[in-house]
C-alpha cells in the first residue's frame, strides 16, 4: 500500500522539481533577453457610470506585471484613483475611479496607459447611469423579467387544453415543433456563448469554460432526469410530467442566461431596451411555453393548474434573477457560464424528447414522417422569424 502510494507520488514529485528548476532558471528569459519588453494585457471587466464619475474594474490578463501610469478619457488626460493600487501582477485587479463629467446618451472612450506607453481602450457606446441596487432597480428589472420571461412562457402554457385535443399526428407535429424550437435555442445560445467567450481574458479560456459548463449541465440534468424517472415509476405516474419538468428547467436556465445578458446590457449602457425589443422577446419566448407542455399533452394527462403555473415559473422566472444579477454584478465570465449551462440543459432536453418520440422505433423512422419533418421546420422557422425582432 505504502509502495503503491509512493509510485503514484513519484511522478508528481519529479514534476514539482522540474517546475522549481524552470522557475529558477527561467529558460524563457534566456530566449527573450533582459531588454525584451514585457507582454502587457489589460482587460476591462466592468465599467459603470455614476453621476460625475466613470468606474472601471481592470484585470491584468497578461503573463507579466504591469503598472497603470495615466488615464485618458475622450483624448484628455484625466485624474483617477486606483482602489487597489496601479501596479498589477498577473491576474491582479484594481478599480479606477475617474471623476469625469460624462454626458448622458453620448459615447465615451476610456484609455489606460501603462508605464510602457501601451494603451488599452474601452468604449462606452451609450452613457447611461448604472442603476444602483435599490427598490426601484429591482422593480424595473423584475418588470423586464416578467415581460420578457414569465408572461410569455405562461401564455404559451395556455395552449395546453387545445393541445390535448389534437390527433396523434398533430401531437407528433407538436413535439417535433418543440424540438425545432429547442434546437434553435441551442444554436442561438451556443453562438452567443462562444461570442462572449471570445471577449474573455485569455486566461479564462472562454471556449473551454463554455464546453465545461455545458457538459456539466447536461450530465447533471441527465442524472436528475433518471432519478425523477425512477421515483415516478414507483408512483406510477406519467413520464410526460418528468419531461415537461426537465424542459422547463432547461428553458429556465437558458432564460437565466438571457436575463443576465439583458440586465447587464441595460446596466452597462450597451443597449437601451426598446419597446420593440420587449415585444420581440415576448413573442419569442411564448413558444417556449408551448415546448414545456407538449410532452404532457401527448400523454393526454390532466394537469392541475398549480402544476402548470409551477412549470411556467421554472421556465420563466429565472429571467428575473438573471436580469438582477446582470444588472448588479455583471462580468463576462458569468455570461459565458450561464449561456453554457443553458445550452447543456437544452441539449439534454432535446435528447429526452427525441428518446420519447422514438420509443416505438428507430430515430430515422420516427423522424421521416411528414408531421415530424414539418414540425421541426416550423419550430425552427418560428424561432427564426421572432428572433429577427430581437436581433
Amino acid at each position: 500500500m505504502t509502495r503503491r502510494l509512493l509510485l503514484a507520488l513519484l511522478p508528481l514529485v519529479l514534476l514539482g522539481a522540474l517546475l522549481a528548476v524552470i522557475v529558477r532558471s527561467g529558460p524563457a528569459d534566456a530566449v527573450r533577453g533582459e531588454q525584451f519588453p514585457p507582454v502587457e494585457r489589460l482587460t476591462f471587466q466592468r465599467v459603470t457610470l455614476e453621476p460625475g464619475a466613470i468606474v472601471a474594474s481592470l484585470m491584468n490578463d497578461g503573463p507579466d506585471a504591469l503598472t497603470i501610469a495615466q488615464v485618458q478619457v475622450d483624448d484628455a488626460f484625466w485624474t483617477f484613483t486606483a482602489d487597489n493600487g496601479a501596479a498589477l501582477r498577473h491576474l491582479g485587479r484594481t478599480t479606477l475611479r475617474i471623476p469625469y463629467p460624462w454626458v448622458e446618451g453620448e459615447a465615451h472612450v476610456v484609455r489606460v496607459l501603462t508605464s510602457t506607453g501601451t494603451a488599452f481602450e474601452h468604449e462606452i457606446p451609450v452613457a447611461v447611469e448604472t442603476p444602483t441596487p435599490n427598490a426601484r432597480f429591482f422593480g424595473v428589472f423584475t418588470l423586464i423579467g416578467l415581460y420578457v420571461g414569465v408572461i410569455p412562457v405562461v401564455i404559451g402554457l395556455l395552449w395546453f387544453p387545445f393541445m390535448t385535443r389534437l390527433s396523434a399526428r398533430g401531437m407528433d407535429f407538436l413535439l417535433a415543433l418543440t424540438v425545432g424550437l429547442l434546437v434553435f435555442l441551442l444554436v442561438d445560445g451556443a453562438s452567443e456563448g462562444f461570442e462572449a467567450a471570445g471577449l474573455l481574458p485569455e486566461s479564462f479560456q472562454g471556449a473551454v469554460l463554455f464546453a465545461l459548463a455545458a457538459a456539466g449541465a447536461y450530465l447533471v440534468l441527465e442524472a436528475i432526469g433518471a432519478w425523477l424517472k425512477g421515483r415516478r415509476r414507483a408512483a406510477d405516474s406519467g413520464y410526460g410530467w418528468v419531461l415537461a419538468l426537465l424542459i422547463a428547467v432547461g428553458i429556465g436556465l437558458h432564460n437565466f442566461g438571457e436575463g443576465l445578458a439583458i440586465g447587464s446590457a441595460f446596466a452597462l449602457g450597451e443597449a437601451a431596451l426598446g419597446t420593440l425589443l420587449i415585444v420581440g422577446f415576448t413573442l419569442h419566448n411564448t413558444t417556449e411555453g408551448l415546448a414545456i407542455v407538449a410532452p404532457l399533452a401527448r400523454e393526454r394527462q390532466r394537469v392541475a393548474l398549480g402544476r402548470l403555473a409551477a412549470l411556467g415559473a421554472i421556465g420563466g422566472a429565472p429571467t428575473i434573477g438573471g436580469a438582477w444579477l446582470g444588472g448588479l454584478v455583471y462580468s463576462p465570465v458569468w455570461s459565458v457560464v450561464f449561456l453554457a449551462i443553458g445550452v447543456g440543459a437544452i441539449a439534454q432536453v432535446v435528447g429526452q424528447i427525441v428518446r420519447q418520440m422514438t420509443r416505438e422505433g428507430t430515430v430515422a423512422r420516427a423522424f421521416a414522417t411528414a408531421p415530424v419533418l414539418a414540425g421541426l421546420f416550423a419550430g425552427f422557422a418560428v424561432m427564426y422569424v421572432t428572433g429577427m425582432l430581437v436581433g
Binding site: 460625475g52 488615464v71 469625469y100 451609450v126 418588470l143 437601451a272 419597446t275
Partner: protein, 346 residues
C-alpha cells in the same frame, strides 16, 4: 453577444426606451428629460496624475539652458568650448552623442526614446551670426543616426543625403558657419524619418544677430508629442516633453520685463501645432530672421519644422494659461501656466 447587434438595431431604429423611461421617470421629475445632474467638478481633475520622478527631464531648467549652461564649468567644457577667432567671431565646438534611453514623459509613463545627449529635446545650440560651429557627433545608439541642421551649409554637412548616416559606434564632425540669424532647429534625418524624429532626435538651434536683441527673459519651447504605442498617432503632447509640466510648475516671469519665447514645432504625425497665450498678445518674428515683427496675435500656428520668436511683456501679476489651441493637444498634455510676479505696469 447579442447586445452588440441589438444595440446597433436600437441605434438604427431609435425607438423610445421602455426600461430607460422607467428608470428615468423617477429622476426626471422636476427637470428636463435626459440631463442627469452631475456633481460640481473641479476643472483641475483634468490632467495627469502624480509627478515625474526627480531624475526625469527638468523641463523648467531646459527653458533657460543653451550651450550646456546648466553644467558646472569643468563638466561643461567636455561638451562645449568657445575659441575666439581673428575676426571677432567665435569657434563654437560641441560634443553631441546619440543614445537610446527610456525617458519619463508623464508621471509613471516611460518612452523608449532615441536622444541627443540623453535628453529630449536635445541640448539647445546657440551661436551668433558669423560664428563657426563644429559639432562632433558620436553615435552611441543602436541604429544609424545623423544631425541635420536647418541653416546655410554645404551639402556635405547636410546629414540627410545618401550615405551621410552615422552608424553605431561611428563619429562625424559637422562644421559650418552660423547663418542666417534666427530661430532654427536640428534633427536626425535618417530614414525612416518619422520614427527617428518622433523617437526624440531633435533640438533647438538659435543664431543671434550680430547686434544682438534687446535684453529679455528668454525661454526655449519645443512643441513635441509622443506615440507611446507606435500606432502612428500621438498619445500625448507637450511643450518640452513632459505632459502638463508647467501646469504643475508654472514658468515664473516678471511683470514689466520683456519675455522672449523661442518656439519650435517638432510634433510628428499631426500636420500642425499651435500656441495660444491667455490674457495677452505677443509680437511674432517668424523664423526669427527679421528684427521687425510680422504680426501681433495671441494664437500662432506652426507646421512641423516651423518656428517663431515671440516677444511679450506681462502687464498683470498672476497665472496666465498657455496651450495648443487644438483642444485635443491641450487636453493630452500640451498645457501650462506662466506665473507673473511684480506690480502691475498699467
Amino acid at each position: 453577444m447579442w447586445s452588440l447587434s441589438r444595440r446597433a438595431w436600437l441605434q438604427a431604429t431609435g425607438f423610445a426606451s421602455l426600461a430607460g423611461s422607467l428608470v428615468g421617470g423617477a429622476r426626471a421629475a422636476g427637470q428636463s428629460a435626459g440631463s442627469a445632474p452631475h456633481p460640481r467638478h473641479d476643472a483641475h481633475v483634468m490632467g495627469t496624475v502624480g509627478r515625474t520622478s526627480p531624475d526625469a527631464f527638468d523641463a523648467t531648467a531646459y527653458l533657460r539652458t543653451w550651450n550646456f549652461s546648466d553644467l558646472p564649468a569643468e563638466e561643461r567644457s567636455k561638451f562645449y568650448r568657445e575659441t575666439p577667432r581673428g575676426d571677432g567671431t567665435l569657434l563654437r565646438e560641441y560634443e553631441i552623442y546619440a543614445a537610446d534611453r527610456e525617458i519619463e514623459i508623464a508621471p509613471g509613463l516611460f518612452f523608449p526614446a532615441w536622444t541627443y545627449n540623453g535628453q529630449v529635446p536635445g541640448p539647445t545650440i546657440r551661436a551668433t551670426e558669423g560664428d563657426r560651429i563644429r559639432v562632433t557627433f558620436r553615435n552611441l545608439g543602436t541604429h544609424p543616426h545623423s544631425i541635420h541642421f536647418h541653416g546655410w551649409h554645404p551639402p556635405a554637412m547636410d546629414g540627410a543625403l545618401a550615405g551621410q548616416e552615422v552608424h553605431p559606434g561611428e563619429t562625424f564632425v559637422y562644421e559650418f558657419d552660423a547663418d542666417p540669424f534666427g530661430l532654427h532647429l536640428y534633427h536626425c534625418h535618417t530614414v525612416p524619418l518619422k520614427r527617428h524624429i518622433h523617437k526624440g532626435l531633435y533640438g533647438a538651434f538659435i543664431i543671434d544677430p550680430k547686434e544682438g536683441r534687446p535684453p529679455a527673459d528668454e525661454l526655449v519651447m519645443v512643441m513635441n508629442a509622443f506615440d507611446t504605442n507606435f500606432d502612428v498617432e500621438n498619445e500625448m503632447y507637450a511643450v518640452n516633453t513632459i505632459a502638463n509640466a508647467y501646469m504643475h510648475e508654472p514658468i515664473r516671469v516678471r511683470v514689466g520685463q520683456l519675455v522672449r519665447m523661442y518656439l519650435v514645432n517638432l510634433t510628428e504625425f499631426d500636420p500642425v501645432n499651435s500656441l495660444h497665450l491667455h490674457g495677452m498678445f505677443f509680437d511674432v518674428y517668424r523664423t526669427g530672421t527679421s528684427l521687425t515683427p510680422s504680426e501681433k496675435t495671441d494664437t500662432l500656428m506652426l507646421c512641423q519644422g516651423e518656428r517663431a520668436i515671440l516677444e511679450t511683456m506681462f502687464r498683470y501679476p498672476g497665472d496666465f494659461m498657455f496651450h495648443a489651441h487644438q483642444s485635443e493637444f491641450a487636453e493630452l498634455g500640451w498645457m501650462g501656466l506662466f506665473r507673473a510676479e511684480g506690480a502691475p505696469t498699467t
